[in-house]
Symmetry: C2
Subunit: 189 residues, 2 copies
Amino acid sequence: MPTETPEASLTSGPHEPSLDEQIAAYQREFGDLDPQVEKVVSALGRLNRRMNVAYGRQVADLGISNTEWEVLKTLVLSGSPYRMGPGELAKRLGLTPAAMTHRIDRMAGEGLVTRDRDENNRVRVIVELTDEGRAKWLEAMRMATNFEEDLLQDLSGDERAVLGELLIRVLRRVEHDQPDAGGRLTDLD
Amino acid sequence: MPTETPEASLTSGPHEPSLDEQIAAYQREFGDLDPQVEKVVSALGRLNRRMNVAYGRQVADLGISNTEWEVLKTLVLSGSPYRMGPGELAKRLGLTPAAMTHRIDRMAGEGLVTRDRDENNRVRVIVELTDEGRAKWLEAMRMATNFEEDLLQDLSGDERAVLGELLIRVLRRVEHDQPDAGGRLTDLD
DNA sequence: GGATTGAACTTTAGTGTTGAAGTCTTCAGG
DNA sequence: CCTGAAGACTTCAACACTAAAGTTCAATCC
């Protein structure tokens, strides 16, 4: 057995703290906070993390990455004929134009989208969803909705409605203070 | 004026779709979904994105990145004496050990943490929060709690309680299906 | 109508992340 | 002991992203 020093518990307990433990720890380390607020915020954070992991795993089975799926979604939501310029795409996805260029390169290489110059204005580029891209989106969408339905399974119809309403009210507050992309929507970091 | 071709609306309307528009677009493109579920999920997604942006901006003012803040949080939550091994840190943060090594390098260079070999087991490394690191965490925490308080300002005490409860029930469902880190917690992508 | 401004995208340099291979230490067996 | 195996971290190569500089085409000014 490895020399069990007192501090050896450093790596011993993988024991990821439960939400309650986490909140208790915050109370301990930073007394000055409202447990009710912390509960909501911590739950939101964890939930989103888990959801991202879940989505990532699912779309990986389709041979695409989470980031590629984001692009497919954005194109589909723009409606037929599923075209958009790299600049607009970048803005919606919170990426720099440079990153968008590379992402489109990859996706075009995989046949998910096409990239062409606009004949009427040769500075512009048109990214268009291919049939294959749309098919991938559809498959991903089916998986996602199954997962989402399952996610909310423990909630009654009324509860779902209430949850939706409350979230939207909170969302309105951020979107108001932080109207769209004041600058870049630089996610994480 | 640039030649306004019919498709020129490609880049014309930065018009980021509202939540309602987004949900309507999903209905249009993929009839087979429950609007109530979609409302909750879409709101969650947007909310988290906005929150990440907000946190990122705030801690940037303190001269640290969002990712560094994550490390500080994890160390503080572990409780005094705020020590942890890189491996455990990586697991909690959903990073590979390799990334953790570099992150610790940087943070040690900035004086936020120290990195030392465990005297009792020289394979192990101990990352410990410095006073400066703890001070940064404290500042960040103050900003964060202000923001979070503001975020929920439009909700009554009861509503906050309900929201927290509902989120926790949803969370329980994911954490049950996806118990902790089955493998790596590869966020996004 | 030729130069200037401006818009939309691409290229380049630098940083952070992953996955795989490598190093060093400790533990267990002969 | 001395060897082999396992664990904990680090190094390396490849990839994705950002910020800033560069390129190309279109519109406007004189």
